[in-house]
Amino acid sequence: MLAPGMPAPDALQQPIALDLFEGPFDLLLTLVLRDEVELLELPLVEVVTASLGENARERWDTDTAGELIVLLAAMAELKARRMLGEPGEEEPDPDTLEAREALAARLVAYAPFQRAAAWLAAQARDHAGPRYRRMPLEGAAPPPPPEEDPGRLGEAMARMLVAPPAPSLTHLTSRRVSMPAALARLQTALGRARAVSFDAFTDGMEPLEEAIALMAALELARRGEVTLAQAEPFGDIAITGSRL
């Protein structure tokens, strides 16, 4: 990366184009929470592939990877609960609670700016009427502008040649996560057995892979290729192939 100002490519920042919604992932989540986009109609696989993509490794830094995982997991959980239709009166596990709290804290912290935006919108409406007379002054040419200090050029250039602090990549897993691969793996597993236990299927997986696997299962359910059944909230999910 050359320029200090060059924004780190950010998985969260990749706009996601979906039929239902075009925008960044976080905003999508916010909309879902506001019930402006129906969660059940969202093909999660598209969200995931659009977010992670093929170049996930290059796009990720620690911050965004962390955020993305938390958000994807939260979203997967929300969607899973809706699809499974569990009443879920019981207390969810601590990790879920934590992710949810983090998400809530973020939304709360950002809320003032959303309200400020609404205030700005009202201001714009209130001030839409007046028109300004923006005509250049006629007559003799103005005097030449003041002279500039050439030292400023050197300073400006020097600022651009300072290396941006390198983000540490030590916490990044080098494992590639591929939604299509997760789908294929699940389909293969279902080719061997009529039903697959989610817990067994994801045994030994990293949390991110597990989240992707869950989304793969949800995606297949959405396509009608499998049915999902969960005896109790946060219990094992039975994935059953629905083809003959």
């Binding site: 780190a8 912290a109 400020a116 201001q123 007046p130």
Partner: protein
């Protein structure tokens, strides 16, 4: 109606200047004291009242003469107005973040909004609502601030002419509601926005896709 001499001068200046003139500039040009300029502005405010076609406005860091809002329909027939360039909700939120935190870099805005702002910021710069504000002295990402066009468009008297941000903070119960919403989005509680309930043919039985 007769104006004082400073008011006549200030009127001519506000009429001609292509941009709003701050009081200090008016003082310089007219050789008058700030008090005299303020009195002149008050006289002009009275002269260009609601019964006229014009008004004196304090906007974007200075004073200016402009047409009254209710005449927009007529005066827009004079000039082809550019097709309504509405500001999208995403752009509005970005503008709000910059307005409160300026100067602020794209990574900082992104982190706060949790979404990409690269293309939004680029288009706001293109539209003249944001402008570059330089890099920090020790290098780093370019920072942005709101422009005079932004202040004009949103009726701000100057940069930072905004309600205190605290005014927009969520109250305790409101913050609690956000959390509850998150919980309810996951649990199909009775009063939550259960999508299609039992009226939908297949309900939300697992494996029943709703869009094939």
């Amino acid at each position: 109606m007769s104006l004082s001499e400073p008011a006549r001068q200030v009127e001519a200046l506000l009429f001609l200047s292509p941009e709003p003139l701050p009081v200090v500039a008016l003082c310089e040009i007219t050789d008058a004291s700030p008090g005299a300029v303020q009195r002149a502005l008050a006289e002009l405010g009275e002269r260009h009242g609601p019964g006229t076609g014009l008004e004196v406005a304090e906007i974007a860091g200075g004073f200016t003469l402009r047409t009254r809002a209710d005449l927009a329909g007529v005066v827009d027939r004079l000039r082809e107005r550019p097709p309504d360039d509405r500001v999208s909700p995403a752009a509005l939120e970005t503008l709000a973040v910059v307005a409160y935190l300026e100067p602020v870099s794209r990574p900082q805005i992104s982190r706060l909004r949790g979404v990409s702002v690269d293309s939004t910021v680029a288009s706001l710069v293109e539209r003249g609502l944001l402008e570059e504000a330089g890099r920090p002295p020790d290098g780093g990402a370019m920072r942005y601030r709101t422009s005079r066009a932004f202040q004009e468009r949103f009726g701000l008297r100057r940069a930072g002419d905004l309600p205190p941000l605290e005014r927009f903070e969520l109250s305790g119960p409101e913050a609690e509601r956000v959390r509850l919403q998150l919980v309810q989005a996951g649990h199909l509680a009775d009063d939550a926005a259960a999508p299609d309930d039992d009226t939908a043919p297949q309900g939300h039985a697992p494996g029943a896709p709703d869009d094939g």
